[in-house]
């Protein structure tokens, strides 16, 4: 899968999680929504890993592992990425 396809998929799954997060804040007893949240959370971690193998770390402060070479300073910033 292309790097930009993985990013797109990651953004889609994360969007679902943002929606569920806000919904669950107001409806914390909805067990089905919690299940969906965890299902998508697993999917998000899988896609994050896949994207990072292609494009480098997504997150700072150790929330992403660095490859041998430090690339945080050389991978494109969100406003520079051509979608």
């Amino acid at each position: 899968m292309e790097c930009s396809d993985t990013l797109r998929k990651f953004q889609e799954v994360q969007f679902g999680l943002v929606e569920l997060q806000l919904y669950l804040d107001m409806n914390p007893a909805d067990q089905r929504a919690v299940q969906q949240y965890n299902y998508l959370s697993d999917e998000l971690h899988r896609l994050k890993h896949e994207y990072e193998m292609q494009a480098g770390p997504l997150m700072q402060y150790g929330f992403s592992r660095s490859p041998k070479r430090w690339v945080w300073t050389s991978t494109p910033w969100p406003w520079e990425i051509e979608y």
């Binding site: 990651f10 806000l22 804040d25 997504l58 406003w79 990425i81």
Partner: protein, 190 residues
């Protein structure tokens, strides 16, 4: 603590440079109903919010607004990046160029700098949540006016996404207000 993610919430593309549109869009960066105002308003109201669900909601919507701030910044950056000073002047951005070159700055569409008087924190949960609902509706309307000002389909797609997010945020804040009012109403009968 906040952790930065090196990506946008939604892909941002523009079809062509458009300096005038950038001048209008900047209001959602540093204007009264913009994303900076939104993020700072919600994150700041958390400390005096007595309701647990509303506290979580302010945190999570406030965080999403920070992401929207970067979406707007990216739109403006991409619309302006190849412009010459003469083109900026012709599009009404001469004053901006004189003060900031192509740097982004927190202003409204008329160039007025961001001010904390755009936001409120009353310390009263009903007053604050009512303010948040109004803020979301004003932001939704602003996105609609911005959509009306452009014919760039890529820009419109992003603005529609942001407009819909304001609708969802408003809805969630309405639910929070309902929960808080219900709490006050029950307490009366103790």
């Amino acid at each position: 603590m906040w952790i930065y993610e090196k990506k946008l919430e939604v892909p941002v593309r523009v079809s062509k440079p458009d300096l005038q549109m950038a001048k209008f869009l900047i209001t959602q960066y540093g204007g009264p109903d913009g994303e900076l105002s939104a993020a700072l308003r919600y994150l700041n109201q958390r400390y005096s919010m007595p309701n647990e669900r509303a506290k979580a909601l302010l945190t999570d919507i406030g965080t999403e607004e920070l992401g929207h701030l970067e979406v707007i910044a990216t739109l403006v950056y991409k619309l302006v990046k190849d412009a010459t000073p003469q083109e900026m002047r012709a599009a009404g951005l001469g004053a901006h160029y004189a003060d900031h070159d192509k740097a982004l700055f927190y202003t409204d569409a008329n160039g007025n700098p961001w001010t904390a008087s755009y936001i409120q924190a009353k310390g009263d949960p009903i007053a604050d949540l009512a303010e948040d609902i109004a803020a979301e509706e004003k932001a939704r309307a602003t996105y609609q006016w911005l959509i009306n000002l452009t014919d760039d389909p890529d820009v419109i797609q992003v603005l529609k996404f942001l407009r819909e997010r304001e609708v969802v945020h408003s809805q969630r804040f309405r639910e929070a207000l309902y929960i808080v009012e219900e709490h006050y109403n029950t307490r009366k009968y103790f």
